[in-house]
């Protein structure tokens, strides 16, 4: 098949650019530890809130070790439970989130935490909060007439050695 010589050059450039993009994404994913949710097993949204049946029966934040937390968050129309989470600056926190009813989303502003929350599934991501401040946790998937009111907050409190950072 005849292909114009300039077009041949363009084809090579196109392939090169896409290969570079692929390598850049792979490198960034590995070196910066970018994570997306994966498989965490299934749960039954109609049973999880039975007392004692699952960690989401009493959604809360637990300290596993100094500076290491895990948060079991339950999404439902139109709130996150717990709606407010307090942790000291410098903490690493792992979120386990599921929905009791329809689909929701969870995005923590100014972080890489961004996930879909589905009934029957557990979404897991972790991050470290180095800077003190208040971070809004916003539902970003349409979940009904009150969707825009569904949000929570993470309050990262300054500790003795982090007060000097911004």
């Amino acid at each position: 098949m005849h292909v114009d010589k300039y077009e041949q050059v363009w084809i090579r450039i196109s392939i090169f650019v896409l290969v570079v993009f692929t390598l850049a994404v792979l490198t960034a994913t590995v070196s910066a530890g970018i994570q997306v949710p994966g498989v965490e097993g299934r749960v039954d949204p109609n049973l999880i809130t039975t007392p004692g049946a699952s960690p989401w029966a009493a959604p809360s934040v637990r300290e596993l070790a100094p500076g290491k937390y895990e948060a079991y968050v339950l999404a439902q129309i139109w709130r996150f439970d717990p709606g407010e989470i307090r942790i000291p600056a410098g903490s690493e926190i792992t979120f386990y989130v599921t929905s009791k009813d329809v689909q929701h989303g969870l995005k923590i502003m100014d972080t890489n935490i961004n996930m879909m929350i589905l009934p029957g599934q557990v979404s897991k991501l972790k991050t470290t909060f180095n800077n003190p401040g208040t971070y809004d946790v916003v539902c970003h998937e349409y979940c009904g007439i009150g969707h825009h009111t569904m949000y929570g907050q993470i309050i990262v409190e300054a500790t003795a050695d982090t007060t000097t950072t911004e």
Binding site: Y6, E7, V17, V39, E40, Q103, M115, I145, H147
Partner: protein
């Protein structure tokens, strides 16, 4: 060899009939399909304006109750009418003209084309009823367990299946042409349109299964519940190739028609054919890049689909070169000199050309933000933020919609036999769409990227809305304002053309670009079997294992009776 010359044997057998007589059914079908598409678009755009105002803090929904109950009902109708109805009806209407004129052969089984159209109309009415009665405020993605009225699901199914049937009428016509033209290569426009319809056939199987096997029986009370993840996966199996179903008709026009309007020729027709075949095989096995942030799908599968998505960017990069080179042949033929001088010589006074050229420019930026979305590592920064509507208003909202408007500027005169009412108003429409969309989409992109503002959200009333968002919301409101003017101009020009346009002195003809490169087309670019097998094989490879797991693990989770969240 030019496209027209190869179909002369057929034309010769048609005797002395004029084109209007030979294609009277096709013209009527096209006119109805395009008319319905534009009616849907007018209402869809009206609701878009309401949303833009709401984001800027001006909530007018309280004034239009009880016609529309809420922002979210308006948003649902905006999405369904603009993204599904406007596109599907326009595309079948446009193809009815494009395929039959490209083959120079009327539809060989008219009853099939009429049946397809009838199904689409019935489907539209069945979809519209629950939408307007506020019984299906589930957005155009209808993610379970949001439960719409059954009529919504059945109506959508009929629209899609009706478009399949319209496609079958095209395939039979192609078969009839092939019988008379053994060994002749398929004219480019017909080939591109047929490939698009076959791609659509493969791509819509996902949503067809989602609706027919899960959502419809569930909404009728025959199934106890739904599986949210399986529903999303089947939806996005269709959801990504859906965007190519919107885009490929625009590409068809850019490759096969715009060069002619620009006074030039299609630069490399063989590559253009290859591009469409590549879209056939690569459009579908990429859907997980819409589900990067979903739980329950292993990261490896997401990565694989991300890789394939870069693959499907390749034919679009080829397109960028070929189209620009084709336009250059036009600019030079019109006396343009130097590296850039040819650009000024392009027919900027032709609204059909100008609208489509601006659609290409806007699409370049839409393509860039699309590659960002598809990137496994960067998607987290923008997923479900206003970046997304910023992106797809450049793609389906500009590359597709502005191109279709440009097509309408010759197609409506052709079908109505009247001259375009005011080419100046139509030109102003193209310019205002360009600038309106630049402001709107830049505001939305930046708001999502810098502040993470969520999409599909009544931002004007959100408690977490920050004052720092206001400049960007105002920028997008400025865009909405200019787009409102543009849309008004469009409907003004179209309505006045049909009602008050002067009778055309000579019949308007479909622009068909000749090929610049007269080297022979390799046989493998005109054979269906291998490409279709390849497409199916890639879909099975990319989706088979994961769908097997999801179906095996399916939980049909019930919701309390009468659970309705809007």
């Amino acid at each position: 060899m030019s496209v027209q010359s190869i179909s002369q044997p057929i034309a010769a057998t048609s005797g002395a009939k004029t084109a209007a007589e030979r294609f009277s059914l096709e013209n009527r079908l096209s006119a109805w399909q395009i008319g319905i598409a534009m009616s849907a678009l007018s209402l869809g755009i009206f609701l878009g304006i309401m949303q833009g105002l709401e984001h800027a803090g001006i909530d007018l929904y309280s004034y239009i109750r009880p016609a529309f109950q809420s922002y979210y009902q308006g948003l649902t109708i905006h999405g369904v009418l603009n993204a599904l109805v406007w596109t599907t009806f326009f595309i079948t209407g446009f193809f009815t003209t494009a395929i039959t004129r490209s083959l120079d052969l009327p539809i060989s089984k008219p009853w099939l084309a009429k049946l397809g159209f009838g199904m689409m109309v019935v489907g539209l009415l069945m979809t519209a009823y629950p939408l307007f009665a506020n019984l299906a405020t589930v957005l155009y993605t209808f993610y379970p367990p949001l439960q719409a009225h059954w009529s919504f699901y059945l109506g959508l199914t009929l629209i899609v299946v009706g478009s399949w049937v319209a496609g079958y009428a095209f395939y039979f016509t192609y078969g009839a042409w092939r019988k008379e033209n053994k060994g002749v290569k398929t004219p480019f426009i017909a080939l591109a349109a047929l490939i698009t319809m076959v791609m659509w056939q493969i791509a819509t199987l996902g949503v067809a299964v989602e609706i027919l096997a899960m959502l419809l029986p569930w909404s009728l009370g025959l199934l106890p519940g739904t599986d949210a993840l399986l529903g999303r996966t089947l939806f996005w199996y269709t959801g990504h190739p859906l965007v190519y179903f919107w885009l490929l008709p625009a590409y068809l026009s850019w490759y096969g028609m715009v060069p002619k309007q620009a006074g030039g020729k299609l630069f490399s027709e063989n590559l253009a054919r290859l591009v469409f075949w590549l879209f056939l095989i690569l459009s579908t096995p990429v859907g997980f890049h819409h589900q990067y942030t979903d739980p329950g799908i292993p990261q490896g599968w997401k990565m694989l689909h991300g890789l394939f998505t870069y693959g499907v960017a390749f034919p679009s990069l080829l397109t960028a070169f070929t189209i620009a080179a084709s336009l250059e042949t036009g600019g030079r033929a019109r006396g343009g000199k130097g590296w850039f001088g040819w650009i000024r010589k392009l027919p900027w006074n032709n609204p059909s050309f100008t609208a489509q050229n601006f659609a290409m420019i806007l699409f370049a930026f839409g393509g860039i933000s699309g590659v960002t979305n598809a990137s496994y590592s960067m998607n987290l920064a923008v997923h479900n933020t206003t970046w997304m509507p910023g992106h797809f208003h450049l793609t389906v909202g500009s590359a597709t919609t502005l191109t279709f408007m440009g097509i309408a500027y010759w197609l409506v005169p052709m079908l109505s036999g009247r001259q375009l009412f005011s080419p100046k108003a139509a030109l102003a429409q193209a310019w205002t769409w360009l600038f309106g969309m630049i402001f709107f989409s830049n505001g939305m992109h930046m708001l999502g990227l810098h502040f993470g503002a969520p999409r599909r959200t009544m931002l004007g009333a959100a408690p977490y809305r920050d004052a720092a968002w206001n400049p960007l919301l105002m920028e997008s409101l400025l865009g909405v304002t200019i787009l409102t003017i543009s849309a008004t101009l469009f409907f003004y020009v179209i309505i006045m053309t049909v009602l008050a346009g002067k009778k055309a002195k000579e019949p308007v003809e479909m622009p068909i670009a000749e090929s610049l490169d007269d080297s022979p087309t390799p046989a493998w670019l005109d054979r269906w079997r291998g490409w279709v097998y390849g497409a199916v094989a890639l879909v099975i490879l990319a989706y088979g294992p994961m769908l097997y797991v999801l179906v095996n693990e399916m939980q049909l989770i019930p919701l309390p009776p009468g659970f309705r969240v809007w």
